[in-house]
Amino acid sequence: MSAVVGGAKKPREQYGTVTSPAGRLGRFIINLFAAGGLLYLFLPIFVIVAFSFNQPVGRFNAVWNRFTFDNWLHPFADQALVDALLLSLKVALISTVVATVIGTFMAIGLVRYRFRGGGAVNFLLVLPLTAPEIVLGASLLTLFLAPTMLLFNISFSLGFATIVIAHIMFLVSYVALTVRARLRGFDWTLEDAAMDLGANPTRTFWRVTLPLITPGILAAALLSFALSIDDFIITYFVSGPSTTTFPVRIFGQSRTATPPQINVLSTMILLVSISILAIGTLVSARRTKRDTA
């Protein structure tokens, strides 16, 4: 019977299946391709983790020598690298908080209201997201280098503040668009219901709207944090000579030395990220289970 007629549900992967030998072979090949693709994605990761246990010959940790736990016993041996990582965390924290707040405001403004100029705002938001990082970095540098700042007549010196400004800039668009996508299906009449029941607009926002949209905001904030920590190209342009984030430090050092602590710290970051991702997946799985039960 055709499934188009009835609403009978079966698992998604059973649709359109063919049991002929040729069909099976085709499925097998495409599965193999996908598995190969995933392996390819993880290949450098295996190398990074493996080389965190390497005892490098010379200053570069690029050729396998012999297994050691030394690097893991002294993960913070390279003080400058640790300082750079702490700076990256600080930048990521501040810029994520600011960008999440401003970006969420924008998303709400765009989804909740119908108004003239909405399309133009959309375009203004998308462009920074699609602009090549090198142009973002270069153009911000020309702005910061200008002797008297355009617009508010403020002058900047390159460093912590300019890095945070740049990160907020590229995260705002990102947060606004991802939260907007999550808000698409939001039933705004719930606000009317709350107000009909006597809540004022402020109370309605804090008690009804915000709790409902929090998962979307949290997801955007987490990814913003990751994007900020990972950013190299823009930061490299606006960081100036004396302020060094984790990626900038690695780039600067990679010409003269690559201590294995880089691999150790990266593996640690990876483990933390995987844990956060796993917790997030579990929580959302439990929530769907509860909602469908």
């Binding site: 973002l136 270069a138 911000l140």
Partner: protein
């Protein structure tokens, strides 16, 4: 009373001022730190800077553009060629991954999607350095390829255009997988049964249903891979040689090493202008939903 607010079919309010209050902080930030810098970049591109340590002065110096093109036309061309190649390879790798996750993933779909993203929680530079180790002359891959005769005894992988394209493909691959996955996931699987009921074979069903319906994701993914790949300088720096320099390498070098701001600004401005035109055409034709 507030319950009398008029709403459209989606429950959106018609309002004139309220949305702007929410939009202003973000818009101001973007105007100040994205749009205004573009203007200052443009100004810089028309400035003159006679020596390395001179302060650049604005002076309608259009010659910067002709100089940028005559000196770095090859790098421009190379950037777009490499980025195009990386986009095509990324598409070929990403599509099966996205397809299998969307249609065969079952309850492991989210876990598999997580696996696609996890490698990118390590830093971009470190990943590229890892590729340098993998492709390097003392790495395992080169031995294998030389043993089975794919590479001659004196041929290398590292410091070739192929290595740069491979690095670009790798580093931007999730941007291809995720949008394709999103558009595949939206496809109603009952369409496939309908096609089969109408005597279409699997391949035909794939060609006539899945491919057309996943095109928005393919376009979005291509844009999201092509643009950062064309502007990258790290892959060429770590995996390439002097003959694989891309526009990003030139901009980086001219800006941060040579301090030749006007030429670097002219190069960047041409680059962003091309990208803006592409994005404008794209969002006109397909909207902005898929990119985010």
């Amino acid at each position: 009373m507030s319950s009398k607010i008029e709403r459209d079919a989606h429950g959106r309010k018609q309002a004139r001022y309220a949305p702007w209050l929410l939009l202003v902080p973000g818009l101001l930030w973007l105007i100040w730190f994205f749009y205004l810098p573009l203007y200052s970049l443009f100004r810089m591109s028309l400035s003159t800077k006679p020596s390395r340590f001179a302060v650049p002065e604005f002076g309608w110096a259009w010659s910067n553009y002709s100089q940028a093109f005559s000196q770095y036309g090859a790098q421009f061309q190379r950037s777009f060629t490499y980025a195009l190649a990386a986009t095509i390879v990324a598409l070929l790798i990403a599509y099966p991954i996205a397809y299998v996750i969307a249609f065969r993933g079952g309850r492991y779909r989210n876990v598999l999607l997580g696996l696609v993203v996890v490698p990118f929680f390590t830093n971009f530079l470190i990943r590229t350095l890892a590729w340098k180790t993998i492709l390097g002359n003392q790495g395992p891959l080169i031995n294998l390829l030389q043993t089975i005769g794919v590479l001659g005894p004196n041929e290398t992988l590292l410091r070739t255009p192929l290595a740069v394209i491979g690095g670009l493909t790798y580093n931007f691959l999730p941007f291809m997988v995720l949008p394709i996955y999103v558009s595949l996931e939206k496809i109603d699987p009952r369409l496939l049964d309908a096609a089969r009921d109408l005597y279409s074979n699997t391949w035909r069903g794939f060609r006539k249903i899945i491919i057309p319906l996943s095109l928005p994701g393919v376009f979005a993914g291509s844009l999201l891979v092509f643009i950062p790949a064309a502007g990258d300088f790290v892959n060429s720096y770590y995996l390439g040689n002097a003959k694989t320099t891309m526009i990003g390498n030139v901009v980086q070098d001219q800006f941060l090493v040579q301090n030749n701001y006007p030429i670097a600004a002219a190069l960047s401005f041409v680059f962003i202008a091309i990208v803006m035109v592409v994005v404008a055409i794209y969002s006109r034709l397909l909207g902005t939903e898929e990119i985010a």
